[in-house]
């Protein structure tokens, strides 16, 4: 669960002067009384792989369809490379889309599928042929040019769909769950291939996914969606380490949430009284909240420590009993029932020497975390 992408030398979104390649402004789409996309605003910069991440039915596909022109916005604006897309039909937009269902033309060979976009542009035959050949080798489908889609496996179809959407070198490539139908191993391989392809062609990607690990591996930035709205935009690292709401913290990875109330609000620290956890929790930095405010404290399972002896060097500790242990190979996950009645999850890497391998069911344990391991969520 790390930021698998090499830190790019520039982060255009941190540069206030950079002009976004794709600007979405207060975009809204209603189907009757139902709002599928709710006042979404987004900036995506050239060369990014931007992931839209969210649960099923949260409006990801609808947002992509708005960008590609298949749906008409109820309100708002889409600007691609400085051009307002209002009223521009799909066939005239400089975007290409890879469909959730691949949508290969069943009556055309692989070759013809890939060449279709170039043919519509009226390119000379010879150029089409060379570009198709190049594209086939880019997606490693050289031997399959004359096959029909129904003679391909799911992974091969996916490559053809990708090739077909890339061949016109679109300014903006929209991918709707591009790897959804692949098994885990193939999916991981293809994720890295996608990154390589994206870097070699310099195309800007907007990728829809509901798989948070995929978003983490692929993207330069992630936009987390919920109920038609974008709730947070940030790099995978920011989203994971500094979620801004309970929804994001809970959606990305697993998390322990301690509900509580701010009882002391100082410049340099805050005390949160949390009856749920049975103690007062110390947070070593000021927050933009008021005394008495209801907040939640989020701590990732891997940031929690567990031990049979009291954790005296930590300020935030609690006592409990081990209820469950799950051995996952590289890590072990403990479920601990605190004396206050709350359940927490703790994961420990099995390679670390600090990990206590003698812990077992029904052991009385202490858990705790470093001061800086928690995030306060007010929404």
């Amino acid at each position: 669960m790390s930021d698998g992408r090499p830190e790019s030398d520039d982060k255009p979104w941190t540069d206030p002067d950079a002009v976004p390649f794709l600007q979405v402004k207060n975009l809204t789409k209603r189907f009757g009384a139902f709002t599928a996309v709710d006042s979404v605003s987004l900036d995506v910069y050239k060369g990014e792989i931007f992931c839209l991440l969210g649960g099923s039915g949260c409006g990801k596909s609808t947002l992509l369809r708005l960008l590609s022109g298949f749906e008409e916005a109820t309100a708002g604006q889409i600007i691609i490379d400085g051009q307002d897309q209002e009223g521009v039909p799909p066939y005239a937009r400089e975007t290409n889309m890879m469909f959730q269902s691949y949508a290969l033309f069943p009556h055309m060979s692989v070759e013809k599928n890939i060449a279709y976009g170039l043919k519509r542009d009226g390119l000379p035959k010879a150029e089409i042929a060379t570009r198709v050949t190049d594209m086939l080798s880019l997606v490693q489908m050289d031997g399959f040019a004359t096959r029909k889609p129904h003679q391909l496996s799911g992974g091969q179809k996916q490559r053809v769909a990708l090739a077909r959407s890339l061949i016109k070198k679109p300014k903006l490539l929209l991918l709707d769950e591009p790897l959804g139908a692949l098994d885990k191993k193939l999916r991981e391989e293809t994720q890295f291939e996608l990154i390589t392809i994206q870097e070699s062609l310099g195309v800007t990607f907007v990728v829809v996914t509901h798989d948070q690990e995929e978003a983490m591996t692929l993207s330069s930035r992630i936009g987390v969606m919920n109920a038609g709205q974008i709730v947070q935009v940030g790099t995978p690292h920011e989203i994971y380490e500094y979620p801004q709401s309970r929804f994001v913290a809970d959606f990305i990875g697993s998390v322990n949430l301690f509900e509580g109330r701010i009882t002391a609000d100082h410049e340099d620290h805050v005390i949160i009284s949390s009856p749920e956890s049975g103690t007062d929790i110390f947070v070593p930095h000021g927050i933009s909240g008021v005394e008495g405010q209801q907040v939640a404290l989020a701590v990732r399972p891997e940031k929690l420590q567990i031990s049979k002896s009291p954790l005296e060097n930590l300020r935030n500790t609690m006592k409990g009993t081990i209820e469950e242990i799950a051995y996952m190979g590289n890590e072990s996950v403990f479920q601990v029932l605190l004396d206050s009645g709350k359940q927490v999850r703790i994961s420990q890497s099995n390679r670390m020497r600090t990990t206590d391998h003698t812990l077992t069911w029904d052991d009385q344990v202490y858990i705790g975390w470093n001061d800086d391991a928690s995030v306060v969520l007010s929404s």
């Binding site: 590609s68 298949f70 039909p89 799909p90 066939y91 005239a92 937009r93 975007t95 290409n96 889309m97 469909f99 959730q100 269902s101 949508a103 290969l104 033309f105 069943p106 009556h107 279709y116 976009g117 519509r120 542009d121 889609p149 129904h150 077909r164 959407s165 016109k168």
Partner: protein, 270 residues
Amino acid sequence: MKSRSRLLQMVGLLGFIFLYAPILSLVIYSFNESKLVTVWGGFSTRWYGELFRDPQILGAAWISVKIAFLSASIAIVIGTLASFVLIRFARFRAKSLLSMLITAPLVMPEVIIGLSLLLLFVAMEGVIGWPGGRGLVTIIIAHSTFGAAYAAVVIQSRLVDMDLSIEEAAQDLGAKPVRVFFDITLPVIAPALVSAWLLAFTLSLDDLVIASFVSGPGASTLPMVIFSKVRLGVSPDVNALATIIIGLVSLGVIVAALQMNRSKRQSEQR
């Protein structure tokens, strides 16, 4: 259990005999040497020979094929357009009403269709002067209308199954809607078009009632000629003719069914 399946087989067999015995006897008697239809006089293909020397029969057959060919072609064009509008553009409420309207000829008695078309043609001739009299043209129009109803049913079922996203993919790659229709939609529904055409063709070839209503002098279709011949007494050459028609019609039906099956299998594989 076993005796029950035996019983089922028996019932099935009886059903088939009931359906096909008359046809079989007709086929057998078409090879009868004797001029008397009910007396077996030995095997011969004599009546087939006579048939091909009979100018009335040959002329009527040619007319029937022409009508069937043209009306089937018109029917699939109308049927395609109608199904396309129904499936892709109609609103929900209008949809069920429209699809009911277009399939009405399937359940309407042929006599009523024939009569109403006849009245329409007569009225049209009075008002706009076209079609001038009844004949080939009016039969083709009549057959196109009910052929289109059958064609629409066949084509609709294919269109409903069709994945809309492949049309969108074509648009996304730069094809305008009309282009998409010819490049993508048409080839994908082609098997349905073939079976719809074959269906409309055989229906037109078969039709007696509607054709009798709307035809005029000099435009007697094959079924009309057979019918008038039979009224004067069954002659063996009619048996031969009927055998040929049965052969053609079954061929058409089988090819249409195979086509539908193949396209279904292909779409399942996707």
